[in-house]
Symmetry: C2
Amino acid sequence: MNNSNIIKPRKLPGFMELLPSKQVIFDEMMEKIKKVYKMFAFSPLDTPVLELSEILLAKSGGDIDKELYAFNKGDTNVCMRYDLTVPLARFVAMNSEFIDFPFKRYQIGKVYRGEKAQKGRFREFYQCDADIIGIDTLPLIADAECLNIADKIFDTLGLKIVNHISNRNILFGYCEDLGLADKTIDILIILDKLGKIGKDNALEELGNLNIDSEKANKLIQIASLCGSFDDILKILEPLSTNETFVKGINDLKEIFSYLTAYKLPKENYCLDIGIIRGHNYYTGTVFEVNLVGHPEFGAVCAGGRYDNLATYYTDKKMPGVGLSIGLTRLFDLLDKNEMLPPLEKRCVDLQIIPLGNTILHCVELQSYFQNNGIICEINYDNRSFKGKMKEANKRNLPFVIVVGENEVSSLKYSFKDMFKGTQETLSKEECLQILKNN
Amino acid sequence: MNNSNIIKPRKLPGFMELLPSKQVIFDEMMEKIKKVYKMFAFSPLDTPVLELSEILLAKSGGDIDKELYAFNKGDTNVCMRYDLTVPLARFVAMNSEFIDFPFKRYQIGKVYRGEKAQKGRFREFYQCDADIIGIDTLPLIADAECLNIADKIFDTLGLKIVNHISNRNILFGYCEDLGLADKTIDILIILDKLGKIGKDNALEELGNLNIDSEKANKLIQIASLCGSFDDILKILEPLSTNETFVKGINDLKEIFSYLTAYKLPKENYCLDIGIIRGHNYYTGTVFEVNLVGHPEFGAVCAGGRYDNLATYYTDKKMPGVGLSIGLTRLFDLLDKNEMLPPLEKRCVDLQIIPLGNTILHCVELQSYFQNNGIICEINYDNRSFKGKMKEANKRNLPFVIVVGENEVSSLKYSFKDMFKGTQETLSKEECLQILKNN
């Protein structure tokens, strides 16, 4: 094939693709998240990337948002999943007789949103979700468990967080109490963006809803409450005796008792009435996790309680609570800010470099080390010995064995500690001992 | 929402979706495969599911096969990947200056083929690929490494295999020697299906190519050779002195020397000249792995050597060799034949059942056990105690702790060994000791 037939290789914009040196860190982060989910005995789920559009878009009556990757295949309109929650709803509705409730499942997978490509936005990204689904009822301990899991995940990732927790019943009840029940949705939309637009703009927008300034100020005040559970609950309690409001207070108190029993560090979470979460389906607990010192990252994990997960697919009442981490975006932010966690597991423990015609002996050595749990490769590239050593340095390989013909007859090998810059002549058993201790 | 708005939940046909009890086995198999790839120091790669159609289909000049999931998004024609090899080619061509060669990468991901739904065929399935890509040259040890890796994978999966290995140069050279060089492709297509159509039909089809019956018989004879490397090489060697043929022989001999040095069990592989692999791009080593006793499964792993991976995207010569396991299909076959490997790791070590108002104490206990590496859940469903115990039995949970109010004050718990059917009253430290030893 000649030059003129070559197509310049490129990938679609908005799709993350990492070089191996970064991919190993990404994978390690994903493994750590998975390990926490497993430690809480969550089951894995792996739903298809493609779903029938009428199923996936049941909520919208089948209307396809421009953001979505939907298309016809034969006579069937299909859509790439845009989250892992709707497929979960479809799954539990389809399989409710085959699964145990409460159903605790995690799913880590790619989701697709064809939004306008822009900095920090991805069209394909990993969500790492964990949800607990009950039948008819689900106790509040499940909400606390999700908060605990979120805390454990960021702890294991080595990232300091504050989890901003609220309960939507506080604002639902407060609006009711102010005689604004019919405007609740619109009020929440405004309060949700309070941090972005500021107090004055929020007051103006509330005024546009014909809410008088006294009430508007009260709404802004309550939505601005953020602090320790102890402090904020004390401020909240006298504000209203509305039933919904009081339920919100009591639920928050119960959650707080669990978080205390879990011994979650007090500085890792707060009660923040301004946390609303746009999604209409949240009905109780809501939370957003921020990285300490990086408010500009926005929420790196979020979730909450929804009273009825699978309402479009079944008559059964299935309350749930869950959390979601957008790993692709989180990784990208950490990478750009040089905050990626260091790699914990080595990708190579030992490289064997054959000198002369010793490759068969190297092959035996490789098997010996691998059978003893050592990640071991043979360097069979066509560089010079000097070039190979330079490459080993560049790749930060910790140990190298050089196997020339003398080594094959003596069964003693030049074992190089690349970090210390030392070299010893050792038997394979002696090499193994050092490798196991390092 | 009333009944009439409910949409019957269903998934697309041809898309595998497992219940958690099966998914954990699937995941464990995937983990084992990944672990072998890592043990050989392969790097992970994770390319997007969607690619530009003109890139993905460069080989076909952009023609979209009916099988493919291709569609327009805005002005862009995109396609869901149908394998992991073309994206690898695109990746190495794009990033050749940032990666080390030989580039050893594994990728485990879903690929998409919208073929007619039929038994045992999936439209979305996992491929578990490992490839080694060189620049300009790549020694034969790389081919042997792939064969070794395939062997290790099925060993770790507990599946007995025979890897049928060949080198396409044997047939290339033999056709040349018979004066049939110009008909090689057509001959290979017929010999490739010899097992399916039988000798007589193959003879007839070769006759249709105007190949005389003596040559046709010779072709069938050589393609029927299958046995130990020692035996088959002895039969092959006198058959031709054609240069390509001899190169095939020598390469097979070298491969055999590596496999011997790797100490691969002799019964795990054979030399089978009938292995051709349809793909035109294989240029040397080819192999197909069969499960012992299950020829009806067909190849459960396959691969080979290609001289030029990224020819559509770059001028650089990039020879490669790789293997691919279709895990979804393999899992499905094993499942249907009740051959799934047993789960090795427990999904739950311990369940804590609160009796009365002891949930806060249970939460503390859960953290204690989790911090000590025990997978631990609290049973907070709303069943009766009897119902909970029945459920624990059904789910095969190994250990259960019952925490009533007496237990909270005495700090001694009813610790049940569900398999033995025994019960002891123990401190949490004593429980932990038993859990760690089991």
